[in-house]
Amino acid sequence: MKQSINTIITGVGGQGNVLAAKLLAAAALADGWEVSVGDVYGLSQRGGSVASHIRWNRDRMMPPLVPEGDLDFLLAFEPLEALRIMTQYGNKHTVVVVNDHPVNPVGVQAGRFLYPDVEALYRLLEKMSKKVWWVSGTDTAKSLGNIQFLNTIMLGTFFATGQLGIRAELFEDAIRQTVPARYALPNIAAFSRGKALCSRQ
């Protein structure tokens, strides 16, 4: 019996993963859900795999980790990390929203590994899941003049695609309450841009 909506936001250290999770959880809380968040990161300060588990349900406290194979929504800021999380936590009902811009691991940069073929990775993600939204998040962030907007753009698309059960205006409130005032409006604008990216697909 399913007890909660299970979401994972994943990416690479420095992509704004933890803040994205915090904002999403704050919105869910404001919408009256019970919320539980777990940030999973290892030793590295930068460049390592990062995943935040965000779970919400009506009436009971949940552990901060999504049980393996029980993922409902995956928001990935990086394709390889999308595959990594999907393999461990996903199932055929998972809805995936993924940024199409690969970030090379240091082993790829150094020439010790090859980054997997992105087309093949995409097809595999499609086979694994219910639906994949392939989003040009990094390019959109660059067009807005700051790569730091990637997380709010992706969250915009995420809100527009999924049946998250959280009202988008509460998410905008969460931005206003969490982000320093001078960044709040640009982030809300980035969130709207992200929403628009969904309707184009």
Partner: protein, 646 residues
């Protein structure tokens, strides 16, 4: 679904808090006057959070040089009638245990709370020690919260209990709780009105002739605490009154157990007894529930601490209890190592209940293996511009040139990654704070047995003051021949860039700087200070010289600030970036084995797939200039960041 959400929407007092933030809120509500500790994942955010309230709540907050100094300082507040908290990760308990196991014998006029954050299935630790044993060793009350709300509430309750009985209390969290977030309803912050006074007629001493009588008093206190715990609201039972299958769980594992029971739709058959006050174990409560249980399963992290305590209660009361079967870590029904999760308990419970698991089956094996073929690792590496990259390159080169099978021993911190590819696999022994420096004392004595491999020991700046000093004194005192390398990056980087005694006083938030080189010189070591990033050759030469000189104790301080900290807090007004002249670069035909990209493993340098030549990602490059120094073709130059595109 009705009103629950509507009520909660109106409840604006619910805030989302990280477990560690909730503990910080709890100790404020509990009226602390002092908070200290030593940084260590997953505990660091408690003191970091309290720093924000230092002024507004008039609390003294500071990082200590190590855990035992922290605990001793905090205890002094309780000696003077005040309330204090000290925080650490599990390894820190070992460091402060000497004091903890003696101060427990005194009746404290104030309150003393030790918060320890364990790291089961470690994400950031060199062991997965279960700190709960220290409650038993010291005979002090132990609280184990399962949610951020409970963490906050227990911090308040533990401080109150500590004051009531004059005994230190231990609050034990685990990584998932400390770093997890959940809704917390906060309460008012208590103002501390107790007079600050040390009663000289009641000395706080643990002298031999007082020990047994004080120990006896402590055992009496623990009996009283146990009586309180029998009815404590942190111990809850859910499920049918007479459930024959009983889960006894504590801490984060109680929430996993709750979910596993729910997943299996077994709420009407399985009872869940959540124990929040784990030591001393409320035995009457346990007996009451054992009376209806035929099968008992334990859910806890990491050791069978609760399991063994319950079994003792069962053995002592067997004459009034039915025959009960136990399932836990001791008979392999629950894994004895690593982190707990819902999936583990679903498997254990369903096996016991003979139920089929109704959870999502995940990704089919065939697709999983296709994915695994694609999933290249995202390896750990030093950040771009990290001074450790230069230091380990210097160490590696010097040991190679020395050519006597020499090696490096070290310890934990960012530079612990020096045991892996990013540090050229240089560290050959790594355990706890300062362990390499201690190991070197012994290695230097092996010469008497004909051991002729040179050994270097590395430790970080904060580690040098935390645990390295005694090892250095020992080496000088015994006239050893030893080379210590202090990797001084000015902050305690791994745990979130905390200020430490070596932090230069022009850094934001820095206090009085304690000089590593003057300290080492004062102890009697031959000392030098080098910036390995600015002059790699000089760093290599210094190690070689010290190795070949052989006589005496050498301390080489490699000093260069943490690059990631510098970018965050002290950005260079005129940043530069490396630029590779593709005409000069001979790539694979050079014979350099691709020093700049393949060997240095710098995140800012990648190899262009088409040309096979390295290129710099200007956005990432910090302009440290290490690659400039290693390029045999002099193909790399530093340019002003703005000029890069031209």
């Amino acid at each position: 679904m009705p009103d629950v959400r509507e009520t909660k929407k109106r409840d604006s007092s619910r805030v989302l808090m990280m477990g560690n933030e909730a503990i910080a809120q709890g100790v404020l509500e509990g009226g602390i006057a002092y908070a200290t500790g030593y940084p260590g994942n997953p505990s660091s955010e408690i003191v970091e959070t309290l720093f924000k309230y230092k002024r507004s709540h008039n609390v003294c907050v500071e990082w200590a040089v190590n855990e035992i100094v922290a605990l001793e300082a905090a205890a002094a507040f309780s000696f003077a009638g005040q309330r204090a908290v000290v925080t650490m990760k599990q390894n820190g308990m070992n460091v402060c245990a000497d004091f903890l196991t003696t101060v427990c014998l005194n009746k404290l006029p104030g309150a003393l709370l030790v918060v320890v954050c364990d790291d089961p299935g470690p994400l950031t630790s060199s062991n997965e020690e279960d700190s709960r044993h220290f409650a038993k060793i010291a005979q002090i009350p132990l609280f184990e919260p399962s949610t951020p709300q409970e963490a906050k509430d227990m911090a308040v309750a533990a401080l109150n209990l500590s004051q009531k009985y004059g005994v230190p209390c231990l609050l034990r969290a685990v990584s998932r709780l400390s770093h997890g977030r959940g809704p917390v309803v906060t309460g008012p912050v208590k103002k501390n009105a107790t007079p600050v006074y040390f009663d000289i007629d009641k000395p706080m001493v643990a002298l031999p002739f007082l020990v047994t009588q004080n120990h006896s008093r402590l055992l009496g206190v623990m009996q009283a605490v146990c009586a309180d715990f029998e009815t404590d609201e942190f111990n809850t039972y859910s499920g049918p009154e007479d459930a024959t299958t009983l889960v006894i769980a504590s801490g984060q594992s109680a929430v996993y157990a709750d979910e596993a029971i729910h997943v299996l739709n077994a709420e009407n058959t399985v009872g869940l007894l959540k124990i929040g006050t784990v030591f001393p174990l409320p035995s009457q409560l346990i007996i009451k529930h054992l009376a209806h249980a035929k099968d008992v399963v334990f859910a806890e992290e990491v050791d069978p601490f609760l399991e063994e305590a319950v079994k003792v209660v069962y053995a002592e009361n067997q004459f009034v209890l039915n025959t009960t079967r136990f399932f836990g870590k001791r008979n392999g029904w629950v894994p004895g190592v690593g982190e707990m999760n819902t999936t583990i308990l679903v498997k254990t419970f369903s096996r016991l209940l003979g139920k089929k698991v109704a959870v999502e089956s995940g990704i089919p094996e065939k697709l999983k293996s296709q994915a695994q073929a694609m999933l290249i690792p995202r390896e750990l590496s030093f950040c771009q511009g990290c001074p450790h990259r230069a230091s380990f390159f210097a160490i590696k080169t010097a040991l190679k040139l020395d050519d006597r099978q020499g090696f490096l021993v070290g310890d934990i911190g960012c530079y612990g990654l020096g045991a892996g590819a990013t540090g050229f696999e240089q560290i050959k022994a790594l355990h706890c704070m300062g362990s390499g420096m201690g190991n070197l004392n012994g290695f230097s004595r092996l010469a008497a047995l004909g051991f002729d491999q040179p050994v270097l020991a590395a430790a970080g700046d904060s580690t040098f003051f935390h645990a390295g000093l005694p090892a250095l004194v020992n080496a000088v005192h015994h006239k050893m021949n030893a080379v210590f390398i202090i990797l001084d990056n000015s902050v305690t980087a791994m745990t979130g860039f905390q200020i430490n005694p070596s932090t230069p006083d022009n850094f934001p938030g820095a206090e009085q700087t304690v000089s590593i080189e003057k300290t080492a010189e004062g102890i009697g070591a031959i000392t030098s200070v080098i910036d390995p990033v600015a002059d790699l050759q000089k760093a290599i030469d210094a190690i070689l010289k010290a190795l070949r000189l052989e006589k005496g104790v050498h301390v080489i301080v490699f000093r260069h600030p943490c690059a990631t900290y510098a970018i965050k807090k002290m950005p260079n007004p005129e940043p530069s970036v490396a630029s590779i002249d593709s005409k000069k670069c001979l790539a694979k035909t050079c014979g350099c084995n691709q020093f700049c990209s393949r060997i240095l493993n710098c995140p800012a340098i990648s190899v262009d797939a088409a040309s096979g030549k390295p290129c710099v990602e200007a956005q990432l490059c910090t302009g440290c200039g290490l690659c400039v120094q290693v390029c045999p073709q002099s193909a790399i130059r530093l340019k002003k960041a703005g000029d890069f595109e031209k």
